[in-house]
Symmetry: C2
Subunit: 318 residues, 2 copies
């Protein structure tokens, strides 16, 4: 397979997160394994000359299929015990975006979001109408109940017993990916089941442009995770982009926007960011956030605040 690291001169980078929150120790290994698999899958698309959008969607696909994460199969449940999912994609070249909110019974909500971007004159479709639109055009449906896992049911029972549906720190495990491709184009993709015990019809931050994600080739690309309502009120993804436009690095912009969210709203969140030069930003003010990125032959990853591991990847075809 030929390397496609040419064009705009920026390196190929595929950066993912597997959700900010209070991840229990026993959940750490599967999350770290999952984010690395996702970053690798997305990077393979980039290395084959694929577009940033295809790569980011491929990475999210891997995590939607993995019940270690709260997206697709393994999504948390609303107060009625149902899966209602949110997802967003954004293309940095055109600012085109597509999203779905509270969509039921599709295997890959990120595919539905992408379909909205490419085939609808709108950005955001919600509910059963979003599902009908997507499935009629080939997005894979899931039988009713097929996305519900015993773990999600247990989490809902705990929420009901605690009487706490606000879920500030539940290890929500929203997933997201950002990418820069060989032509220097950027993309963002984010997918989630929301919060355990949420009200029926609740749309979180994930499918909202500027909240759950953003991509602008002239600046950078972001995917966020954490307390959704706080991310909405601060327009977290757009705030990071604005700080980068003012000259901050991807890392400093991400950290500063999160600090501001914490200061004003006293809740937690995290975000992953790429500049249009391929510089990486990873930050969270929650207890943990799983993340990983592949850049060149290095796989970087972590989940605790000061953790930053690097592995050299031995490519089979080299």
């Amino acid at each position: 397979m030929a390397s496609a690291a040419e064009g705009a001169g920026a390196p190929l980078v595929l950066l993912v997160h597997g959700g900010a929150g209070d991840v229990a120790d026993e959940g750490v290994p599967r999350k770290l394994e999952g984010v690395r698999r996702a970053a690798q899958a997305g990077y393979e698309v980039l290395r084959g000359g694929g577009a940033a959008l295809d790569a980011a969607v491929a990475a999210v696909h891997v995590m939607e299929d993995d019940d270690a994460f709260n997206a697709g199969y393994g999504s948390v449940l609303n107060v009625d015990g149902e899966v209602e999912m949110d997802a967003l994609v954004m293309d940095g070249k055109t600012l085109n975006a597509g999203a779905v909110g509270v969509i039921p019974d599709v295997r890959h909500p990120i595919d539905a979001a992408r379909l909205v971007m490419e085939c609808a004159p709108h950005v955001l479709l919600v509910g059963e109408a979003a599902k009908r639109f997507a499935v009629a055009r080939g997005v894979e449906a899931a039988p009713p109940g097929a996305l519900v896992t015993p773990r999600a049911q247990a989490a809902l029972r705990q929420a009901v017993e605690r009487g706490d549906y606000t879920m500030h720190d539940t290890g929500g495990s929203t997933v997201g990916a950002v990418a820069i491709d060989s032509r220097g184009h950027l993309a963002s993709a984010t997918s989630t089941g929301g919060t355990s015990g949420k009200m029926v019809g609740r749309v979180g931050d994930t499918p909202l442009v500027g909240c759950g994600g953003y991509a602008d080739d002239t600046v950078g690309t972001v995917s966020t995770t954490g307390h959704g309502e706080s991310i909405i009120k601060t327009n977290l993804a757009h705030s990071i982009i604005v700080l980068m436009r003012q000259g901050l690095s991807a890392q400093d912009a991400t950290q500063r926007a999160l600090d501001e969210l914490g200061r004003r709203l006293n809740n937690t969140a995290g975000a992953i960011t790429l500049s249009n030069k391929g510089d990486v930003g990873v930050a969270f003010i929650s207890k943990r956030m799983s993340w990983a990125y592949r850049k060149g032959n290095e796989m970087h990853y972590g989940i605790d605040p000061d953790q930053h591991c690097v592995e050299i990847v031995q490519e089979k075809e080299n």
Copy 2:
């Protein structure tokens, strides 16, 4: 009635818009009459010592009841001939926000949005679930079809005949209000029926924080109108707030953010803005946008690009 123009030292201001778009000449008188009535109704709340949020909601109420505008009664119809409405409120003191998307059959979607802010742990509820939540807590329901007007039906027929559902310039007539009260607090309220012939389940910019509106006591407050998908992609309301944070006046920030939207996406929009000092910004890059504001004993209003009328208001009780 005592004047409440004290506290933070900023003047009381109630500023409204009645939608950006290609308003036909015959629609101008009713729109100008409607925005002035709305501005006056909201201002009365401020002058009685009421909160900015109460005042902004009162102004939107007037326009939701007036079928000269595309909100509440008189909302445009989706492709199936149904009313599905969007609304948002935001409170500048706390950054609290509440919104509803594609809500059917309530007289005042803005009341439902406010209820979400005050009584739900979420920001955005959509669809039938939003209606059930609101009506169960006292928001006035409307019988099925009661919000549908002959004019909205005619507009849908035209859209179908043209085969153009993207509706870049339909005089959409979204309504919005921003206010500053006697304690210097800010609020934003926006309500719409969306675009004529939109897909079922389409959520526009109006209920999205940072798109349809924003309010932050440390900066200012905004309500937007126009091509919804473009407003979403540029986070128009938040972009205006960011420019004001950087030192631009309400007017300059509003104009610059709209110019940027037009340059990047080649669509039209408008916005109204108040700074936390009570300075007014009104701008649009569409053919027309009806607007009005009451400040002291002056009523300002207009609808064409260079139109700015002022009337002295004779208060009955003075």
